[in-house]
């Protein structure tokens, strides 16, 4: 009983001692993003994973509120699954508890750090930490811990502002990934690779994907039919 009382006391103390209201911070971010109804943008993607060699690729992304997203590319493109839809709606769509943590600096910008705990048991995300630039209501950095894929981080850069819309000019997506265990049958003999294979560690490795955005077209109207197409 003493422990419970102490926990309630500490929680109450922590809650009341918060200098900033995390829900207001997040609502401001959502409100800012809600000024965008739709956008299309060209992206250039650079993948940096030690066991994956892929050329730089280009694609086009279409987004429409609340969470419609479509990708098109003339060539093959690898897009980071979690980072490409940076809409705060994607992160904050379900019920959650938000806690204000502290102030921090990201790329020289003063930010408020807010922790978001999803209340939905089915959510793959266990905890998300958001670094919010309160002066502009921009998300500067996101760190999420997932049930399956470990922790990933997305850093946003707003070098080339698009009419004060919270649209980044580049993002860096950092994640951990298992070295792939490739079935050999389909690819025939791999004898010559066995020796190299022995030297390679089987541990998880950290990967980075750099996404550069250009030619934003915001609120110009995108027909729904675009989002019905298969990503190609």
């Amino acid at each position: 009983m003493k422990r419970v009382t102490l926990f309630i006391f500490l929680l109450a103390f922590y809650t009341f001692s918060q200098s900033k209201d995390p829900n207001i911070i997040l609502n401001n971010v959502k409100e800012k993003f809600n000024r965008i109804n739709d956008y299309e943008v060209n992206v250039r993607i650079k993948v940096d994973v030690d066991f994956l060699k892929a050329p730089e690729s280009e694609a086009k992304i279409y987004f429409k509120q609340p969470d419609k997203i479509h990708f098109e590319s003339e060539n093959f493109a690898l897009l980071p699954k979690e980072g490409i839809n940076f809409s705060p709606m994607a992160l904050l769509k379900d019920n959650y508890t938000a806690l204000y943590d502290k102030e921090d600096t990201v790329n020289g910008v003063k930010t408020s750090v807010v922790k978001v705990i999803p209340l939905n048991d089915k959510s793959n995300i266990i905890l998300t930490t958001l670094w919010v630039d309160q002066a502009r209501n921009y998300i500067m950095k996101v760190e999420s811990t997932t049930k399956i894929n470990g922790t990933f981080t997305i850093e946003f850069n707003y070098d080339k502002p698009v009419d004060d819309y919270p649209l980044p000019s580049s993002t860096i997506f950092t994640f951990s990934i298992d070295r792939t265990n490739i079935p050999r049958g389909m690819y025939g003999n791999m004898d010559e690779e066995k020796e190299n294979d022995k030297k390679v560690s089987r541990k998880r490795t950290t990967g980075r994907v750099y996404v550069y955005y250009s030619n934003y077209k915001v609120n110009e109207g995108i027909p729904d039919s675009i989002f019905e197409k298969k990503n190609d």
Partner: protein, 279 residues
């Protein structure tokens, strides 16, 4: 000499067994392509499942280049049989049909004769590889189109840009031609030893299968002798599909394979030159 080669080619292409190889490729490759058309996407998704946990794939990875890469992978196990079928018959076939004696009564040296036969055998081999390239690449691109090539190695995944693939296939097929020349030379050598074509065909395949099995078993003694088996170097066409191409290793493989061709042909020429032809 050109005339003799032309005559030898005429003899090769007059036999129905010559077309078994072409026919087998014309059937096998489309069968693989149809299977990939039906099941390919599922297999590709399975192979890249870990990557797909972190990435969204946009575009066409199941394309003619990938299918050709898979087909090339099966080359050095199955195609040698089709080559041995013809190369093993080049000299022994003359003995079987009783035309050896009449053949060497022609006003040409035995060396020129054996060389012409060998060159004709090589031309058959190259035409078979060319046919394989044409069917696998041509038909593959026609059915699946082109695109980036994903190469899955046990420790690395490489995605080659669309514009960076075709030249790799040209070199890979050229290398495959050299690899298969060793098979031709080996079957030709066996053909010079006997008077029945079945022996050289079976012996060639036996040697290749034994060497491949020895290479595949990871026992120290086998791994020690592996570098001395020519089959080890036959799959070096894969080196053209590395992120940074190991040219010294490719040159080494080419020299070893070319050395085997010269060795086998040289031995066959000596045997044929000294052969006491009684029939």
């Amino acid at each position: 000499m050109t005339k003799i080669i032309r005559i030898e080619l005429y003899k090769i292409f007059k036999k129905w067994r010559t077309y078994i190889g072409f026919l087998a490729i014309a059937v096998l490759v489309p069968v693989i392509q149809i299977a990939m058309l039906i099941e390919g996407e599922k297999s590709l998704n399975f192979m890249t499942r870990n990557l797909q946990q972190s990435f969204i794939f946009v575009g066409n990875l199941l394309n003619g280049y990938l299918i050709t890469y898979l087909i090339l992978g099966s080359l050095y196990i199955h195609i040698p049989f089709l080559i041995a079928l013809v190369a093993g018959d080049l000299l022994a076939g003359e003995a079987t049909s009783g035309t050896y004696r009449i053949l060497i009564t022609r006003p040409i040296s035995r060396f020129n004769l054996v060389t012409s036969k060998f060159i004709a055998g090589l031309l058959y081999t190259y035409s078979l590889i060319f046919w394989l390239a044409l069917i696998s690449l041509g038909l593959g691109i026609l059915i699946f189109g082109t695109g980036e090539l994903i190469v899955l190695k046990s420790s690395q995944i490489i995605i080659f840009a669309k514009s960076d693939v075709f030249w790799r296939f040209l070199f890979a097929f050229a290398f495959a031609s050299l690899s298969m020349s060793v098979v031709t030379a080996l079957a030709f050598l066996f053909s010079s030893l006997v008077e029945n074509a079945i022996g050289p065909i079976v012996s060639t395949m036996a040697v290749i299968i034994v060497f491949i099995v020895i290479s595949a078993i990871e026992i120290n003694i086998f791994q020690t002798i592996k570098p001395y088996l020519f089959t080890t170097y036959m799959s070096s066409w894969r080196l053209f599909f590395d992120d940074s191409i190991n040219y010294p290793e490719i040159v080494k493989s080419c020299l070893i394979l070319a050395g085997h061709v010269i060795l086998f042909f040289g031995a066959a020429a000596i045997i044929f030159k000294r052969k006491d032809i009684l029939s």
